[in-house]
């Protein structure tokens, strides 16, 4: 605990509301009649189904396989029969359906044979492949395929491994409870990560509002045969964000536009670490996770939940109350409102937060910005939110990018402190979405223009060729008349000239394309690509809504 900590700038400290749910024991998983398991639960390509409707599957059986390097498999969370492979509502801000496999559970909850792995004896690449097939993805919220993050690649090693037990969002306690009850297995997961990444410095960061979790993790850390430091960090939102945790623990900042990999640091959520240990030592693929069910319910608690369980099952379990005004997936700062409660729990679901008018009063109407810069003081990305707001509002997206719009992590601190109650983050999401859409359109337009230019060039060339051909023909005729051997050479040089012309034109087109290539939609990290897809989906939904006549607003 003697470690020097570094303060990240900004941040807020909203009421924690952790005590409601963190004192209860973990509730075992309820087994619903029906499980709806989305194929896109992670960043990257959605999994490809490997079962058909009517198949009987066992608990833990792979039902969809990873598609490509950045992808991961999906498994049956219980035994039963595949009744549908189709589009179903999923927990996503767009409210758009996505491809899911629906299981009718048989109630036997019958496992596949467990196949633990001797990870130290396996080649790292094989081990990673197995982890991908076990469906491991980051459980801190970003659901990035873990096998990819466990690949040090060309760097060979990640000197620093950070296990993130920050859990800074109000209300959420699943990581807290996990650490209290499963500290030893979490440390086993750390050992596997250390093995794959070759890390020499291992830090477990936990906010100081979780003393029980800190004690449990320290006790577990004392038992392992490698050096690991459990570090208590001050509770301040968004201190559990990966970038903020890195700064708090190491004093280093992830360079803008880069990943922590670039500075030799890899960060995993404690839930992922635990899931890794279950996968390796027990042969259990990722088919369940801890979910905090809290807010306006009778019995707030943490539940081990089978992936695909409908959210209403959990709200019923925790005791539904009158006066519910909506449900969030995640916490109040970054959570996503759920369109309905039939949507399933997915790998990214850390919390189901039930709202009421008392706990979450409707937000007051916004007043104009008075440039007080409280947002700038609160911004952990050290941006100038008041300027970004001004540019976004004026649709001056170029200036917004100049002022680092894309470094915004959408943590919501600015909106939280704004005395004018401006929904600032909304404006940034809107601006980002517009910029991506415009660059996409611009690319399409560039492509069309290039095609058109090439067509003109081709027509011109064909005309020239025709003329040349005619000329050549005439010359050949003349030459034939004069002397037969001279004709061959002339024809060959004409063909060469044509080839050179085409090559030059292609090179010009290539150069032009390179010149106008936009900078935000190229070489994107997969999570940004994922974000773009989400925004595209939202835009599609908005367009769809815009076409429909106005209907009275849905009751919450």
């Amino acid at each position: 605990m003697s470690r020097e900590l570094f303060k990240f700038k900004g941040g807020v400290h909203p009421p924690e509301h952790k005590a409601e749910s963190n004192g209860q024991p973990i509730h075992p998983p309820p087994l619903p009649r029906k499980l709806v398991i989305p194929l896109r639960q992670h960043i990257g390509n959605p999994a490809k189904p490997v079962v058909s409707v009517g198949d009987h599957v066992k608990k833990g059986q792979m039902i969809a396989e990873a598609d490509g390097y950045i992808s991961t498999a999906v498994h049956a969370s219980s035994s039963g029969i595949v009744t549908a492979i189709d589009m179903q509502p999923v927990p996503h801000i767009s409210g758009l359906p996505d491809l899911c496999i629906t299981l009718e559970t048989d109630g036997r909850d019958e496992w596949i044979p467990h196949d633990p792995l001797d990870y130290q004896a396996m080649a790292p690449a094989d081990l990673r492949m197995r982890l991908r097939d076990m469906g491991l993805a980051g459980l801190g919220g970003a659901v990035f395929p873990s096998a990819v993050k466990l690949d040090p690649g060309a760097a060979q090693t990640f000197p620093t491994l950070i296990i993130n037990g920050g859990e800074c969002e109000p209300w959420i306690t699943c990581d807290d409870v996990l650490m209290r009850h499963h500290a030893d297995e979490t440390l086993q997961g750390v050992a596997i990560m250390r093995h794959l990444l070759g890390s020499t410095e291992i830090l477990i960061g936990i906010e100081d509002n979780k003393p029980e979790a800190i004690a449990a993790m320290q006790a577990a850390a004392a038992k392992v045969d490698f050096a690991v430091e459990v570090v208590m960090v001050p509770a301040r939102y968004p201190g559990g964000g990966a970038k903020q945790m890195i700064q708090t623990l190491t004093g280093k900042q992830v360079p803008s536009g880069k990943l922590s990999n670039d500075i030799g640091i890899q960060v995993f959520n404690v839930g992922t670490t635990y899931a890794l240990a279950r996968a390796v030592h027990h042969g259990e693929p990722l088919i369940s996770r801890l979910v905090t069910v809290t807010g306006h319910v009778l019995r707030p608690q943490n539940v081990e939940v089978l992936i695909g369980t409908p959210m209403h099952t959990l709200i019923t379990l925790a005791g539904e109350r009158d006066g519910t005004t909506g449900v969030l997936m995640g916490g109040p700062m970054m959570g996503v409102p759920m369109p309905n409660l039939d949507v399933p729990v997915v790998k990214a679901t850390n919390c189901i937060l039930v709202k009421s008018a008392e706990l979450f009063p409707p937000l007051p109407k916004a007043l104009p910005c008075i440039r007080c810069t409280r947002c700038a003081d609160a911004c952990p990305a050290e941006l100038q939110p008041q300027e970004l707001y001004r540019f976004a509002k004026a649709a001056d997206f170029g200036r917004a990018q100049e002022y680092h719009l894309f470094d915004c992590i959408e943590c919501g601190c600015c909106s939280y402190v704004c005395p004018s109650h401006i929904p600032l983050v909304d404006f940034y999401r809107y601006a980002k979405g517009e910029i991506w859409a415009r660059e996409k359109e611009k690319r399409a337009a560039d492509l069309a223009r290039e095609r058109h230019e090439f067509r003109l060039f081709r027509q011109e060339r064909e005309k020239k060729e025709k003329a040349e051909k005619l000329a050549a023909k005439a010359q050949a005729k003349r030459a034939e008349l004069a002397a037969a051997p001279a004709a061959e050479g002339a024809a060959a040089s004409a063909a060469d000239a044509k080839k050179a012309l085409i090559a030059a034109a292609l090179a010009r087109a290539q150069a032009k394309k390179a010149e106008v290539t936009p900078k935000n939609v190229d070489h994107l990290p997969p999570d940004t690509q994922h974000e773009i897809e989400e925004i595209e989906a939202r835009r599609a939904k908005i367009r769809e809504l815009a076409r429909k006549p106005l209907e009275p607003e849905d009751k919450p």
Partner: protein, 344 residues
């Protein structure tokens, strides 16, 4: 509705209310030193400001309630009232307040949109248009034999007749006026400072008023409503500029402490230059803004046509804000120190 779903308990009304509370020590000292006349000025400016605000909101098609209750109009009214001479006639107060609210605030787009501090625009219009009336300062009670009662003050402000001898007995040149006049008459600073109007650092009484405004500023800083950057830089700008001149020629230039302990400087540093709407937003920008305003204040006091320069200095710096902000963008998390070049 998207995230976040919770808000800190804060509002524009709360911010403005604290600014008004922070002005109360200054107002109390004002009454104690100059008599209760200021209360009439404050009330008149408040009523005028609220009426003008309501009328302009209606004319611009904005809802009256959220904007009238944000208290920003009252802040403008009080800042202007506290800048005006204590015996200014009623029409001067009304004209200045109307100009501040109607032109400087609403014609620029209302709350949050004004480039210039409205109170200072009102003040500047008055001092340029009515320089004589803008000198009707009551002297500190310590120096006037027969202080005006509330009723007498009201009579003066509303243009009623009081005996000329009474009026002349209570009005006095302010310390800054005295310094200016003295210097014009080729006296040295030391000679001028022997006049009874000068106290320990600033003017008799005036220096206590300055201290009370400073106290209000410290309160706002402690509440995190203002940051230390602007007030400290403003005071440093005053002190350094005046100090440099005084060091250079103590006979012709007032002492830095004298300049610092003028009520206008403390009111300007803690309440007016710190106006977020018309001020710089970046930390370095705030320092430049404050230093610049301090430097210009002394420059105008020394070589300008008016005895005090706080209002013009702040208005001139208001003009520079977009430029200052643009060139003082701070380094972001994980970023290079300068903003990227705009995309082509």
């Amino acid at each position: 509705m998207p995230s976040p779903f919770i808000l800190d308990r804060t509002s524009v009304t709360q911010v403005m209310a604290w600014v008004l509370v922070a002005l109360l020590p200054g107002i109390a000292v004002y009454v104690w030193i100059f008599g209760p006349g200021i209360l009439i000025t404050l009330a008149l400016a408040t009523v005028t400001a609220l009426a003008a605000e309501a009328a302009m909101l209606k004319a611009r098609g904005y809802p009256a309630k959220p904007f009238l209750t944000d208290l920003s109009a009252i802040v403008t009214a009080w800042l202007l009232a506290l800048s005006l001479p204590s015996l200014a006639p009623w029409w001067l107060i009304v004209t200045g307040t109307l100009f501040a609210i109607v032109v400087a605030k609403h014609l620029y787009g209302g709350l949050g949109q004004n480039i210039f501090n409205p109170a200072m625009v009102g003040y500047a219009v008055l001092i340029v248009s009515f320089p004589v009336q803008m000198t009707q300062w009551a002297g500190p009670l310590e120096l006037t034999s027969t202080p005006l009662t509330l009723a007498q003050s009201a009579t003066v402000i509303f243009g009623g007749d009081i005996a000329k001898s009474t009026f002349d007995a209570v009005t006095m040149a302010t310390p800054l006026d005295a310094l200016r006049t003295g210097l014009l008459q080729q006296h040295t600073v030391d000679e001028i400072m022997t006049q009874s109007i000068f106290g320990h650092y600033g003017g008799v009484g005036f220096e206590w008023l300055a201290a009370a405004f400073l106290l209000g500023g410290i309160l706002l800083w402690a509440l995190r409503i203002i940051s230390w950057h602007v007030p400290l830089a403003f005071l440093a700008g005053i002190w350094l500029t005046a100090g440099f001149l005084h060091f250079f020629d103590a006979g012709r230039f007032g002492a830095p402490w004298f300049h610092l302990f003028a009520p206008s400087v403390m009111l300007g540093a803690c309440f007016i230059a710190t106006d977020p709407v018309s001020g710089a937003t970046t930390p370095r920008g705030k320092l430049i803004f404050g230093l610049g305003a301090g430097f210009l204040t002394i420059t105008i006091r020394t070589w300008g046509g008016f005895p005090d320069g706080v209002a013009f200095a702040i208005l001139l710096m208001n003009l520079c804000v977009p430029l200052i902000d643009q060139y003082t963008q701070p380094r972001i998390y994980g970023g290079a120190s300068k903003p990227k070049e705009p995309p082509a």
